[in-house]
Amino acid sequence: MAEITLAVKSVLPTVREAAFSRRHGWALPMLLSVGVLLAMLASLCIGSYPMPFLQAARIVAHLAWPFPLPANPPWSVKEQTVVQVVRLPRVLLATIAGLGLGVSGTALQGLLRNPLVDPNIVGVSSGAAFGGIMAMLWDFSPVGIIGAAFCGGMLAMMLTFGLAKLSHAGSDSMILILSGVFVGAFFLSLIEFVKFVSPDSKLPTMIYWLLGTFVGADAKKIAMIAIPTLIATSILMCLRWRINLLSLGDLDAKTLGVNVRGLRWLVIALVSLIVASQVAVSGVVAWVGLVVPHIARMFVGPDHRRLLPTGALLGALFVLILDDIARALVHAEVPVGVFTALVGTPVVCFLLWKSQGKGWGRE
């Protein structure tokens, strides 16, 4: 009896591409890491006070190197103050916020099996903003604000999933996103309500916080965003292959031996933590979490082992460059959220047109 074999398609180029991406898949994130570093140093040279690139690099290298500074540094006191107090905090804030948004958007898209979501769309950002504003109403400490923002973000996600479950849609991602939109809208109206009832003495602070820009970055704010973001990002990086599994579908992942519920809530908690700390420090920044994973996917494909680091670094680069443009070209300080939306929406529209709807939702 003759063996039946499947017809072999001509797939030679694809095989070669695949081999390349397997062997050099880490190269792009590496290149991006270097790119982010260079962009950070270049950003330190933007501003009214003159600062050569090498001088900025030297100061940052000495600041970051965990040993005492030289006694007679080859830079002036003013140069160091400009870097340490004015520019580096802002550059770091933009970088870390972008990194967090990139990583959380990528993880969330994988988790919800839909490339159309970002933390803003599924209501995490609004929930976190609501938590933060309540904390400010009750005069919490910075840690308390992050904690409350985190609880708000988690609450929003629980409500989103709960609502989707109520409609018996289970893990149907379109229903899940719709629920997220509803929950987000609900939290936004709660924020408006709190703004309305809060005493006049607290209102300016709240509005200032909600508008949130990268202006006014300092070591305290950096600590507020860096510690949660870097820790949660590291854990997500370790889990990044598992996000592939989560993106398969509940039943399938479960039969492969994945603890779907536990893993999903772990990822949601980490994403909420990142978004909460970002919102607590720099206000709601939309679209980054949606645009960046798309661009990253164009570069390295859908495998989250490569996608997550690439998304994180691209997010950092994206927000950092946008902030630089805001800082250098537009002298008026536009809130960064406005700017990301301004750039993000056309990019999403372009991707939508380019992909002709492929990979958007269900076939």
Partner: protein
């Protein structure tokens, strides 16, 4: 080979570690700025001192919209300014009475730079642009949401002034002292304070507000012409209620209310005898003039409109609120308006004297008319006493 691959999978650690190290670098102590070899110490209104290097390199006014005015009122030293404010502040100053004393400031481009400072939301300050001015001292209002703490941490010589958030008399007095000390002439501060008390006491002796039994009720408010919901009133929580009303012998018709956006019905319910339109609303300018107000259908039921007792406040944009020189003048205007039978109309003369004595500037009658808003108040009852002829006639009458 397999071992190396395992390490390669950790490539994402590198950028995160780099960012973490840079963040930790922020925690390093800032470099110590050597104190100036020759300097004098000035203490701000928050108790913090600053050493100002000699020779004095001038003053940079930072956080505080009315800083140019307060500074000039207190010091009469425009030449020490190296930075006065933003384009907005310049525009505001160009409509202000003090421009008559110091017209040269408006034409000095370097004093006004829109990039250094923004008042939107947060009072953001472009520290780097400001560092370029390199003055002897930066003047600002201390507070958590001002750039002053940051400027202090950077080691910039920063002096806090006008620190009383509510403004009022205390802030004016301490500001006068600090400003005088700042320019190295403490005696000038004492002189201004003495002058202030002289003006206050003069009015007190003429009016004897303590003996008045029936205080006329007046509502200070403003209504935006563009946004009809933006109606502001002076409630219990502003300087007016404790500083101006008792000294002018009047009562606040909106007593028991807070200053905020009001709806028209609340004003109708208050129905004050006299309405003074002061620029206090949160809404967009322009505000309604007395003429517009009296023809606005919303206000036709008010007794103040029916009796044409609606006035534009004198010096509404010309006199900086809270300045030591103008507090007594505003009080006096209110008193002269509402107690015509008790007070001689002397405001024109007082204004003229102040500008001549303090700024060595002669005001023309037209300039005084503009500050007293004679044109706008032409249709209101009894305002002719503030006009040139009115004041003269009245004074003649009292002499007889």
């Amino acid at each position: 080979m397999k071992r190396s691959r395992k390490w390669l999978e950790l490539y994402w650690v590198a950028p995160l570690a780099l960012i973490a190290l840079m963040s930790l670098g922020l925690l390093r102590a800032l470099p110590h700025q050597a104190p100036p070899a020759h300097g004098r110490t000035v203490t701000g209104d928050d108790g913090q001192s600053v050493v100002i290097e000699e020779p004095f390199r001038g003053i940079c006014l930072t956080y505080g919209f009315l800083f140019p005015n307060w500074y000039l009122e207190d010091t009469h030293a425009p030449d020490l300014l190296v930075y006065a404010g933003t384009a907005d502040q310049r525009k505001w100053f160009s409509g202000n009475a003090l421009r008559l004393a110091y017209p040269q400031l408006l034409n000095k481009e370097s004093l006004w730079d829109p990039r250094v400072f923004r008042f939107a939301h947060d009072g953001y300050i472009e520290i780097e642009a400001m560092m370029a001015y390199n003055p002897g001292v930066y003047l600002g209002v201390a507070g958590d949401y001002t750039p002053i703490p940051l400027m202090r941490r950077m080691g910039l010589p920063t002096l806090s002034n006008w620190g009383h958030a509510k403004g009022g008399e205390k802030a004016g007095l301490s500001t006068a002292r600090v400003n005088a000390a700042l320019i190295g002439n403490p005696a000038l501060g004492d002189a201004h304070i003495a002058e202030y008390w002289r003006d206050v006491n003069e009015l007190k002796q003429e009016l004897h507000p303590g003996n008045l039994t029936l205080l006329p009720k007046v509502l200070l408010m403003s209504a935006s012409r563009l946004n009809r919901r933006q109606i502001g009133v002076v409630g219990d929580d502003t300087d007016w209620s404790n500083l101006y009303y008792p000294r002018a012998g009047v009562a606040n018709a909106a007593s028991g209310h807070q200053a905020m956006s009001y709806d028209a019905e609340r004003i109708l319910a208050i129905d004050p005898e006299t309405i003074v339109l002061a620029g206090i609303a949160t809404g967009p300018r322009p505000w309604e003039s007395p003429q517009e107000f009296m023809h606005d259908p919303r206000w036709q039921g008010l007794q103040a409109v029916q009796q044409k007792r609606v006035y534009r406040m004198a010096g509404v944009q010309d006199w900086s609120p809270g300045g030591l020189m103008f507090i007594p003048m505003r009080t006096r205007w209110l008193a002269e308006l509402l107690h015509p039978e008790l007070l001689q109309p002397r405001l024109r003369q007082i204004l003229r004297d102040h500008f001549r004595n303090d700024f060595n500037t002669s005001l023309t009658d037209e300039e005084i008319d503009k500050q007293l808003r004679i044109d706008e108040n032409a249709g209101s009852v009894g305002y002719e006493r503030f006009t040139r002829s009115g004041a003269a006639a009245r004074n003649e009458k009292s002499l007889q």
